[in-house]
Amino acid sequence: MIRRAMATAQESPSGWRQYRQEIAFLAIFLLVLGGGFTVLSINWVNDHLVEPFTGAIATASAGVLNLLGQGIIQTGTVLTGSRFAVNIRNGCNGVEALIIFVAAVLAFPATWRSRFIGLALGTIAIQIINLIRVVALFLTGAYVPKLFESSHTVIWQSIVILCAVLLWIYWANRYAVRPGERTGDQEAA
């Protein structure tokens, strides 16, 4: 009878166990998220990694804006045009959205191979979206300055994070494979 009860319990977990998948996801997600932002807050990391990365984003944005005829002069992370100037700071470099994406990918049950694919493609995609954001914000500031504040803090932050979530969902059902499962490609290899 005890054995039968145990077998039943294994078939349909009760209580908190039925939410084990969600609990595991949230625990890992929050751990990576908190850890990621804690690492970002270390001065050395900020000075040696984040700032140069933000500088690279400024360079790329200046390149695109110059292609659009804006005549941008770049000084570090500051982009100056004839009508508007903007300083790309932490929060505008896509790193926050990236950390949320990384945390979600690492927390979702999948093989390490599919995680690496997700992280590589997701990083590129999020940075492209962020580049579009910086360029669009600069143009908003230059031509519709009244909308800049709302666009900066509300609209584009939401869009970038929404894109990160969409990318994660796409990855989860396109690439994520449960550990132990194999795709046709893997079997063939």
Partner: protein, 216 residues
């Protein structure tokens, strides 16, 4: 010792949680998974504008509600309770206390609208999930909004305490020790950045993680 429940004849399988009922089976075909994602993305096209519209309409009232709620919450931490939290231009939180004299103090990062713009993400994500009944969709969204509301009250309250503890020079040094200043700084930083941004996804996964189909 076997319990009464264990020895009872098992004639009926325990019902699955409602969120799982119409989920695609694990290992759904690649086509079904792709269709689910496409439908989710397509639903975002109406869910996002609808959420923005509702959010813009309720923001003036919600800002006032948050300021009043955060004022009550902050006053719970004071003895005697002193903080008054008002709104400037309908969205900037301004605190005043008797021991500030006649001055009022703008709350650092205290644009109340910025505290709750994650509702745009939350509403869009919850409304866009495919294959849900109306009651499931709005029931789950209601729970998520309730949790988010508590988060917003806590965030605004923390911003007020953060301002008191770290942004007011001599007043901060006189009333808050190094530990309290660092604790409020860290908590505010975590709440205002990672958790504010990630809250919609966190809540979404609580309700819908099992619905995300996998092509394998």
């Amino acid at each position: 010792m076997p319990s009464a429940r264990a020895s009872a004849p098992v004639t009926k399988k325990r019902p699955e949680p409602s969120v799982q009922r119409s989920s695609p089976p694990a290992g759904a075909s690649r086509g079904a998974a792709a269709r689910w994602t496409a439908r989710f993305a397509r639903n975002l096209l109406w869910a996002a504008p609808l959420t923005v519209l509702v959010w813009v309409l309720i923001t003036p009232f919600y800002n006032r509600f948050l300021a009043a709620s955060a004022e009550s919450f902050v006053r719970l931490t004071e003895h005697p309770a002193q903080t008054r939290l008002d709104l400037r231009e309908g969205q900037y939180a301004v605190a005043s206390r008797r021991d500030f004299g006649t001055r009022a103090r703008d709350i650092t990062r205290g644009r109340v609208t910025d505290c709750h713009f994650n509702l745009l993400l939350l509403g869009s994500l919850f409304l866009a999930v495919p294959k849900l009944t109306l009651s499931q969709r709005f029931g789950n969204l209601g729970w998520a909004l309730l949790i988010a509301m508590f988060f917003h009250i806590l965030l605004l309250s923390l911003l007020v305490k953060f301002t008191y503890a770290t942004q007011m020079g001599d007043y901060s040094l006189a009333h808050y020790g190094p530990f309290a200043r660092n604790a409020y700084g860290l908590l505010t930083q975590l709440m205002d950045l990672p958790f504010k941004f990630a809250l919609p996804l966190i809540l979404w996964t609580v309700f819908y993680l099992r619905r995300v189909p996998r092509a394998a």
